[in-house]
Chain length 479, copies 2
């Protein structure tokens, strides 16, 4: 159990077994604890601190775009869940049911929310009466439950944390605009906070959210070439309003059904960060969400003045960055490995010789580069280095995405590409027919991820049936 032994065993290399590499990181970076509640996890302090940073940045973006936070109950009565037909069909098979309160059987079963459209609709029916009450731009930060069969930490668990935005508007145009706005907010967040490039697109009919008119999503590429859906934004039209009897009196004194949206991002993002940026030394965290941006490791800390100097640097740096000072008795080598595993963007080394020369060494987690920095210029150099780390992480992820995206014009070409290149993003034309969508998946193993908003004309005909093509689709295996 001694801590110094912990880091000695290396993690599985990602080239050998990507799934095991992921599991090893989740454990060794102390992100997750296993529990006796099957499919549910403990989010440990280090992972929760990442989530708090994600929350803080996203919540700021929501508030800047005029949204307010609320909190709905965690339970949904069965009759309320059933009000919108498509919605209940989509979710009922995977909800957890509460049947008893204390020793008494409930008159009506309650499900633990898998998502909260029905609760928001009930509330909107109570508070929306006039055009003056619109729009309502609400969001909540809660956890939801979906009774999944197979689970993996962050990627698929029975309970996960998320935010769910739910908005209601006087017109379809406004609601569609909101759906697109939030998709863009998500994509910007991924780029600027997670250093993660994404493809924006619309889901095909078969992949839409239960009850939606249109579902938009952002798809990120993981290090292994698989896709991960990082966020979704749904346009509902007035379907929910009709099912829940939400109406408002417009300026012309007539009754109308309002139009709605919902959009969400989850703790999956932590899994996406691991698989986008991690390497065989462990996590590699984007500076914007790293709980510790700079770790100070004193060198030869038993020597006079070293710990004092390191402490003084800590006090200086904490004014402008999230900094940690490790003066524990572990060896410097152990600390190096530990903070590489934890993905800390910058490691600042300070020893007797550095102090003599009024400088320190700063090592970057993203590429291992070391630079010697004058102690007089830390206020400029550290923020500049954090920006460089972010930019380089984004560049590497974008290269991975671009280098592993291939345009194909036949099923055989898709199969050959996947065989030659391994898991990749495939761009190919599609007629719009669900049968072809299913056939591509059955024959090649990749499913439709989305119809990218940035369309290209790769060919005139569907990759599957040869009929006229309607859309370019992004195909991939997905988490």
């Amino acid at each position: 159990m001694a801590e110094n032994k912990k880091m000695v065993e290396a993690i599985t290399s990602m080239e050998d077994d990507f799934a095991q590499w992921y599991t090893d990181i989740v454990k060794k970076a102390e992100l997750v604890g296993y529990t006796s509640v099957k499919g549910c996890m403990v989010i440990r302090p280090y992972a929760y601190a990442i989530w708090e940073n994600i929350q803080h940045i996203l919540d700021g973006m929501f508030k800047e775009t005029g949204h307010e936070n609320v909190c709905m109950p965690m339970f949904i009565p069965e009759s309320l869940l059933q009000k919108e037909k498509d919605h209940v069909e989509g979710f009922a098979p995977e909800v957890a049911w509460v049947t008893h309160g204390g020793s008494e059987k409930l008159e009506e079963r309650l499900c633990v929310r898998p998502t909260s459209e029905t609760l928001f609709c009930e509330h909107y029916a109570n508070i929306v009466h006039s055009y003056r009450d619109l729009p309502k731009l609400y969001n909540q930060w809660v956890s939801v439950v979906r009774w999944e069969k197979t689970t993996r930490p962050f990627l698929r668990s029975r309970e996960f944390l998320w935010q769910e935005g739910h908005t209601i508007h006087a017109t379809a145009e406004e609601a569609i605009e909101e759906t697109e706005r939030m998709l863009n907010v998500y994509a910007d967040f991924c780029r600027d906070a997670l250093a993660m490039p994404v493809v924006r697109g619309r889901k095909t009919e078969s992949d839409k959210f239960a009850g939606a008119v249109a579902t938009y999503a952002i798809e990120a590429m993981m290090h292994d070439g698989k896709a991960l859906q990082a966020g979704t934004s749904h346009y509902f039209g007035d379907g929910f309003a009709k099912a829940f009897g939400i109406q408002f009196t417009d300026r012309d004194n007539t009754q109308h059904y309002p139009h709605q949206t919902s959009w969400g991002m989850t703790t999956r993002l932590i899994g996406a960060v691991i698989m986008t940026h991690g390497d065989n030394s462990g996590l590699c965290l984007p500076p914007a969400v790293a709980p510790v941006q700079v770790v100070i490791v004193p060198i030869a800390q038993h020597k006079e003045g070293v710990v004092e100097k390191a402490t003084a640097l800590y006090e200086r740096i904490k004014r402008f960055a999230r900094v940690k000072l490790d003066v524990s008795e572990q060896s410097a080598g152990w600390k190096f490995a530990e903070y590489e595993m934890k993905g800390v963007p910058l490691r600042l080394e300070i020893g007797p010789r550095d102090i003599e020369n009024n400088c320190c060494v700063i090592a970057r987690r993203d590429n291992g580069e070391k630079v010697t920095v004058s102690l007089d210029s830390l206020e400029e150099e550290i923020p500049a280095l954090l920006k460089k780390v972010h930019d380089n992480m984004y560049k590497k992820a974008l290269e991975n995405l671009e280098n592993r995206t291939f345009a194909c014009t036949s099923l055989d070409e898709i199969k050959k590409t996947l065989a030659d290149k391994g898991d990749s993003f495939i761009k190919a034309m599609w007629c719009g027919d669900e049968a072809c969508e299913d056939a591509v998946k059955a024959e090649t193993g990749v499913g439709s991820r989305c119809i990218p908003l940035a369309q290209e004309h790769l060919a005139d005909t569907c990759v599957c049936c040869g009929k006229p093509a309607q859309h370019m689709v992004l195909w991939a295996k997905a988490y």
Copy 2:
């Protein structure tokens, strides 16, 4: 439904019917929405923003005292709940049980957490092995469920939001120190953020948390003289550690059971704020947690330059206070009533004559006082006024607490005091016998709230049985 009608009907006066006054405020200040989930509520944006401010301040205090946030599952398997005997007896009668996932019956029932000691213990058993792993100072912000029969918004609901701190220490001394530290953090928070004086004390044996060795609490006095328990801090000794098999190897290489604490505050605090500071015009919010600290109401806003000037002031003030500008078409009178109902601490009025004189009028919500302030000194005057509002609110609440606390030395005196003065805090001596505690309650209607940490010697003998007194107890009716 027209908005201008909303404020015309006054709320029930608190002197006529305190309970109805509370219900009216909760509705008219748009704090809560009712749902079809019995005993659960929608926390609407204005109330949730108060909670966010509470969270932000408390979370900062927790982090300053070395605590880290985590997140445990919301479910507890029945067998896990049963591991600590007293704990399960206390909570099992009031938990919600999940029995089905999708269409399948679960092998073991899961309860929705009423509190998370059992989950934290399971996790600690996994991660605590050596003295080097101690202490762990964890907290989580989640919602919990208790199947209450009678519910009232914020005060008692089947689901409520809270934070639960759970810590584990090598020694009893450290754990006791932590229990006391967090009680003090809570009391400081109530004083500095909620302008709410509290009595710190220890619960009697019969009132302890299920599984605790000692429970400490802070008791606040509501405007009607009743008590509201605003926060609790529990010392567990090593009882949970023994039940869950948590052991660590100490420096001397022997195995020991660690000592634990837990402590929590909830959305009840919003109810406490309403009932401590509210009046017949509505809410009165302490500046530190008010979603809007200053509302700008333009006077004669149709006149040239008024809206422009108000907007310029808004831009200035938002740099140092939470400010809202209301340029809606409602009358100034309607706006005055609306923001009084919402409890906004300061109202800034600016009209043509004010602009001419380079000044504005600022009205205080707490006492109605109006002052004319030069537009050149808003940066100094507004923070100073907010502080005055806070201090005056605290002073008034403290006066209420002190003026309605009475020392009594016999049951008859208690009865007479309550009959003469109405609901009050009663200080009286107690022998320590549970039978006397029950008898006081049965005869006078007030229950033991706590054994105040600041003890006084009012008499030598128990107020009930006449045997030697052990403690001075605070008695009151409670929410």
